[in-house]
Amino acid sequence: MKVVVLNVHVPFVRGGAELLAQWLTENLEERGHETELVRLPFRWTPPRLVIDHMLAARLTRIRPADRVIAMKFPSYLVPHENKVLWLLHQFRLAYELWATPYQGSEHGHESARVREAIVAADDAYLPEARAIYTNSAVTSTRLKRFNGLDSTVLYPPLRDPGAFRCESFGDYVFFPSRITITKRQQLLVDALARTRSGVRAVIAGAPDIPEYLDPLRETIQREGLHDRVEILPHWISEEQKLELYANALAVVYPPLDEDSYGYVTMEAFYAGKAVVTCTDSGGTHELVEDGVTGKVVAPQQDAMAEALDELAEDRSLAERLGAGARAKLDELDVSWDRVVETLTS
């Protein structure tokens, strides 16, 4: 069929959502659908612009498509008789980030008005869709809580899941992610100082700002961890990433209250590796189950250290949890075949 994938476009900005829309488009095409990715311009400051963009979306016509798959606010407001939603999240500033420091306060009164309009538009027009799918249980729960709407979770697969492999269970844990406060690389470095097994760590990712590297380096210096912590403070190549996954003992991913399970978790599972995460990590719990597919520990250095030692001293445990992780993916049937079939049915 003729399918239009609808997303938003903030000029000069590229992020995870843009990639996912691109991959979806490619996978629809590979399965014989004539597909076009359409992106509507969006900007949210000053807040009143949000109203203009909602109205613009409402006035936009997508022809001649048999199916429209909309992914982000406000693109899902575009009317179409055959529209399904694959929601990555709603407009977060109007919902779970409202009245938090992330929202910004300089437009207080105006913001409140705009927020009302956003919620009203979501309430009125989200139900137009033939079906609503979301990227995670977290998003589905919010949709239920804020707008009283039911939805089905449809996990986004990786671009090329087949590329991930498991070669060995080496002497290091791998932590690939942007380096930033909320991802908590510091927790891993602190924990390493408390381990007794001599387990190593490889931390890879670009820091949001260079200063985020300083406390990590200070800890390494103070605790004499030079031989045991390697930091690659930049985006590593896809090849190097696959290699590091393939030979890791396990993957560590302990972010603070994440939206969704996170690509890191999914990648680790495809590489047949257990994931060590924390009780307050949020979305990762959708995939990581303590003692089945990984370890879920308190967000404290001693608890983290204990989990790392357990895995390092008992490789068969690491292997068993890694196999469990791989089995979990089969159970969930996370695949582009399924995503394409679901969104076009």
Binding site: K2, V4, H9, P11, F12, E34, E36, V38, R39, L40, P41, R43, T45, L49, D52, H53, L55, A56, A57, R58, L59, T60, R61, I62, R63, P64, A65
Partner: protein
């Protein structure tokens, strides 16, 4: 400089606007500008045009870039204090096609929105700091319909050196989007009059699926299935270049085409003569009768006679085609100057 290049697109239709946007974005980046593209969906059904125009008008890209360059109509409704328009064409059903046989679909609706289109074009174009046209033909239309004086910037032809000539065979070639206004039907009808053993190959994606069937019917009715090959889909560049390389000539008879036509430019890049019509518009800026091609009345018999002439005298076809390659000079010095003008 931070530049946003905007155009409207029709989902699933691969027209010249997309090629031009990509070429321009690449040229801007090559010269050190930061550039992003906005491809805005716009479906030109008159029943739904006014709301879509309003949707464009609601988008303000002032904060995103220092310069906004708008191409296909009516993308210039976007708001920006530093807006430059490289005008491709009007919404032709509201202008030069209004009372022609090519004014299709719900004509009364077309008439109703006509005034809204005229007004919004005036608004969007008046706001622009500068307006350039892609051809003299379009510049002239802007003068007569909108009272606007503008300079011409021809879209540079991409990859001229990728086209080659393998001789002058027994096929005349018509590569173009399939749409009534491109007049594939006229070329097919001409084949019923052609005496020499020449075949016609028509290649191109249809704007709408319903544009294809009448052409097949025409081929059958005129009993031309041996002499006309109709490939109603987008073909890979390589295949297209092979067809250019091998053909005797290119037949390109659109009605009132806006630009000089990539088809005419590509034909010349492959050193092939172009047969076009006296009412074909833009191509006439490039094609001169007896110099680098043939310009004939938009009649099947006249086109057939021109094709027969070329088939009987291959050396004449070669002479005209090679002159055509020289006449590409007329398109000017290419992307560097285009970028200079648009960002000046």
């Amino acid at each position: 400089m931070k530049v946003v290049v905007a155009t409207t697109i029709m989902p699933f239709v691969k027209g010249g606007a997309r090629i031009l946007v990509d070429g321009l974005a690449k040229a801007l980046a090559d010269q050190g500008h930061q550039v992003d593209e906005l491809l805005l969906p716009f479906w030109d059904d008159p029943e739904e045009m006014v709301e879509q125009m309003l949707a464009l008008r609601l988008v303000d890209v002032s904060h995103e870039a220092e310069l906004l360059i708008c191409l296909r109509t009516p993308s210039y409704l976007l708001r920006h204090p530093n807006k430059v328009v490289w005008f491709l064409h009007h919404h032709r059903p509201a202008y030069d096609l209004a009372d022609s046989p090519f004014s299709t679909r719900t004509r009364s609706a077309e008439r109703r929105v006509g005034k809204a289109i005229h007004e919004s074009d005036r608004l969007g174009l008046d706001e622009a700091r500068r307006v350039f046209a892609i051809s003299e033909t379009v510049a002239e239309r802007l003068r007569s319909y909108s009272g606007l004086d503008c300079d011409v910037l021809y879209p540079p032809l991409e990859g001229v050196d990728d086209y080659r000539c393998d001789g002058y065979g027994d096929v005349v070639f018509l590569p173009s989007r399939i749409a009534p206004v491109k007049r594939q039907a006229l070329a097919i009808e001409a084949m019923a009059h052609v005496r020499e053993p020449v075949r016609l190959v028509v290649v191109g994606a249809p704007d709408l699926p319903e544009h294809v069937e009448p052409l097949h019917e025409l081929v059958n009715r005129l009993d031309l299935s041996e002499r006309v090959e109709l490939v109603a889909e987008w073909v890979p560049e390589e295949r297209k270049r092979d067809l250019y390389a091998q053909c005797l000539a290119v037949v390109f008879p659109p009605y009132g085409e806006d630009g000089y036509g990539y088809v005419a430019g590509e034909a010349f890049a492959a050193a092939k003569p172009v047969v076009t019509c006296t009412d074909s518009g833009g191509p006439l800026e490039l094609v001169e009768d007896g110099v680098n091609g043939r310009v004939v009345e938009p009649e099947p018999a006249a086109i057939a006679a021109a094709v027969d002439d070329l088939a009987r005298d291959r050396s004449e076809a070669k002479r005209l085609g090679e002159m055509g390659r020289d006449s590409l000079q007329k398109l000017g010095p290419g992307w560097e100057r285009v970028v200079e003008e648009l960002t000046a």
